[in-house]
């Protein structure tokens, strides 16, 4: 595991307002990292700092061993960015926007521009002015702008904002493909947790200007999920089952059990099947990212 982003004790103040205080984390090459936090928690500020667009009040950062303050130019060459507003010229056509930004990033490959426009289903709209695009189309064009030069690190600020389900699927699939095909490190900010759950390999939880937790999903699950809530669709009579398996809720054929660990699940299922009942569906309910997010934030707030 080679670290590509190293951040130690970063602070950022705008006048008297402290946006970040003591932010530290590491991102390894080839990871897809989700930076999660509520609106206004400082996610965008971190992206700006990492690219040397703004300077930190204190702390150290290294991106690919470069300091964003003194070697920001090198970082910006290997970075691709999708900002929240996408930053496109509305009076220019879609393809002209890409040609313009392509030149700034040293890409004059018209074939690549056309290929990406096709991949993101914008080829038919390339001659229209961006001002006439829907929010989803602007976002997709913004993503093309960000990946045009095959960046080593891709920073995506709320990439699925304003997209319809089809658009979300398209964007997430492309992010995943980029990572798998080219080993692109992806740093993704979002507050829509269920959407990014399928692509991220690691998570950073930002709250009130500091990273309150980080790790892979299984690491976080181990740490925070004390009880497992399992919803099973079955015709089992719960009274006949081992009393070890506590029933939290029953709604017709849907029974929700509370287990101490995941390891108890095979025993419960075996118990049901052994007694000749059927099982149509099994789902662990409190292991999704959203549950983890609230658990982590809840515990931290309790600590304060």
């Amino acid at each position: 595991m080679v670290p590509i982003i190293q951040v130690r004790g970063i602070q950022k103040q705008f006048d008297a307002r402290t946006v970040l205080h003591d932010v530290s984390f590491t991102v390894n090459q080839g990871d897809i990292v989700g930076l999660l936090g509520p609106n206004g928690s400082g996610k965008t500020t971190i992206i700006r700092l990492l690219n040397g667009v703004i300077e930190p009040t204190a702390g150290q950062m290294r991106i690919n061993h470069w300091d964003p303050h003194t070697e920001g130019h090198k970082i910006r060459k290997i970075s691709g960015i999708l900002t929240d507003g996408a930053g496109l010229y509305h009076e220019m056509t879609g393809v002209d926007n890409l040609r313009f930004f392509g030149k700034l990033y040293g890409v004059n490959d018209e074939n690549r521009i056309q290929q990406l426009l096709t991949d993101f289903q914008l080829a038919d709209h390339q001659q229209k002015k961006v001002g006439t695009y829907s929010t989803g189309m602007k976002r997709r064009l913004g993503i093309i702008k960000a990946i045009l030069h095959n960046p080593t690190i891709l920073f995506l600020d709320e990439p699925t904002n304003g997209l319809d389900p089809e658009g979300i699927h398209m964007v997430l699939e492309n992010i995943y493909t980029l990572n798998k095909q080219y080993g692109t490190t992806i740093f993704l900010c979002s507050h829509i947790l269920h959407q990014i759950e399928s692509v991220c390999t690691q998570y950073l939880f930002l709250d009130r200007g500091t990273i309150i937790e980080s790790g892979t999903k299984s690491e976080l699950e181990k740490k925070y999920i004390k009880e497992i809530s399992v919803k099973i669709e079955t015709n089992a009579v719960v009274k006949e089952l081992n009393p070890l398996y506590k029933v939290a809720k029953q709604d017709g054929s849907f029974v929700t059990f509370t287990l101490q660990t995941k390891d108890e699940l095979p025993g419960l299922l075996e118990d049901i099947l052994r007694k000749q009942y059927w099982i149509h569906h099994v789902e662990i309910q409190n292991r999704d990212l959203e549950s983890l997010y609230f658990q982590i934030r809840g515990e931290r707030n309790e600590d304060k």
Binding site: V53, I54, R76, I81, T83, F101, L104, G106
Partner: protein, 278 residues
């Protein structure tokens, strides 16, 4: 770091295209040359020539300019003209309209340059540029060029149109050319580029520090005052344009330009540019 000319031109051309493809902006930029290079000379000269003037103001002004002129070729040429009407036309064409003509490069470059950074901020695109692998220097030069090139095209174009119209009207009156003289050539090819650059540098500096176009306009508009001063200088005879004066004013502005470039490069880094937009 070495300046990447391709990037500079890409930024400049993007902005120039933005100006030429926007009819409203284009009309705004053309109105001024139309007034100062076409309407003003035509109306002034024709009025002076064909309408018997009773206005003592123009007369007094002409006399003031004539008496303020140093002894030399210009004064002799004017004194040898056949009538006072001829003298008035000569003075209007070569002194008054000259200082007014400078409003073309100043106001046009002001309007383009004022919008340079504020326009990017208002459209939310400045951040995209700051995230791109371009230096702030390249961005500034690109922005300066995007105002300089169209302004100079308009200025030289206006000069040619002004010349054709003025000559077409004055040639039969004077039986010869009274235009262009050294003053005019210096105004257009020496002072205009320097003044345009001066205006752009001031406006770019103001634009980079302002949060809205309106705010930039209020501060940046002050740049017009020296031109008004030059015009008043002609009318009152306090500062009559001559090749020497034009050369000196140009040299002075050139030095100020160097100072402004130094100031801009010192005070405008990414962080400052960014923080002025939030």
């Amino acid at each position: 770091m070495k300046i990447n000319k391709n990037i500079v031109w890409t930024i400049a051309m993007k902005d120039i295209k933005g100006i030429t493809s926007n009819k409203q902006v284009l009309i705004g930029l053309i109105i001024l040359p139309l007034i100062f290079a076409v309407i003003f000379p035509t109306v002034f000269i024709l009025l002076l020539n064909f309408v018997p003037l009773t206005s003592t103001e123009v007369e007094t002004m002409t006399n003031t300019i004539l008496s303020a002129l140093p002894n030399g070729d210009s004064k002799d040429t004017i004194n040898q003209l056949p009538s006072f009407n001829h003298q008035m036309i000569y003075v209007v064409v070569n002194y008054l309209l000259g200082s007014m003509f400078l409003l073309i490069p100043v106001i046009n470059s002001m309007m383009i340059a004022l919008n340079s950074f504020v326009g990017e901020k208002e459209r939310g695109t400045l951040e995209s540029l700051l995230f791109a692998p371009i230096t702030v220097k390249e961005l500034f030069i690109g922005k300066v060029l995007s105002a300089f090139v169209p302004t100079m095209v308009l200025t030289v174009g206006s000069f040619v149109i002004f010349g054709v119209i003025t000559t077409a009207i004055t040639y039969p009156i004077f039986n010869g050319f009274i235009f262009p003289n050294t003053n005019w050539l210096l105004l257009v090819f020496w002072l205009s580029p320097i003044l345009t650059l001066f205006t752009i540098l001031i406006e770019v500096l103001v634009s980079a520090r302002s949060k809205s176009f309106q705010e930039a306009q209020q501060i940046g508009g002050l740049v017009i005052l020296p031109i008004v001063g030059l015009f008043v200088g002609q009318a009152t005879g306090m500062l009559i344009i001559s090749p020497i004066i034009l050369l000196l004013v140009g040299m002075f502005l050139l030095m100020i330009n160097v100072l402004l470039i130094f100031l801009i490069s010192k005070y405008n880094n990414r962080n400052t540019l960014f923080e002025s937009q939030v």
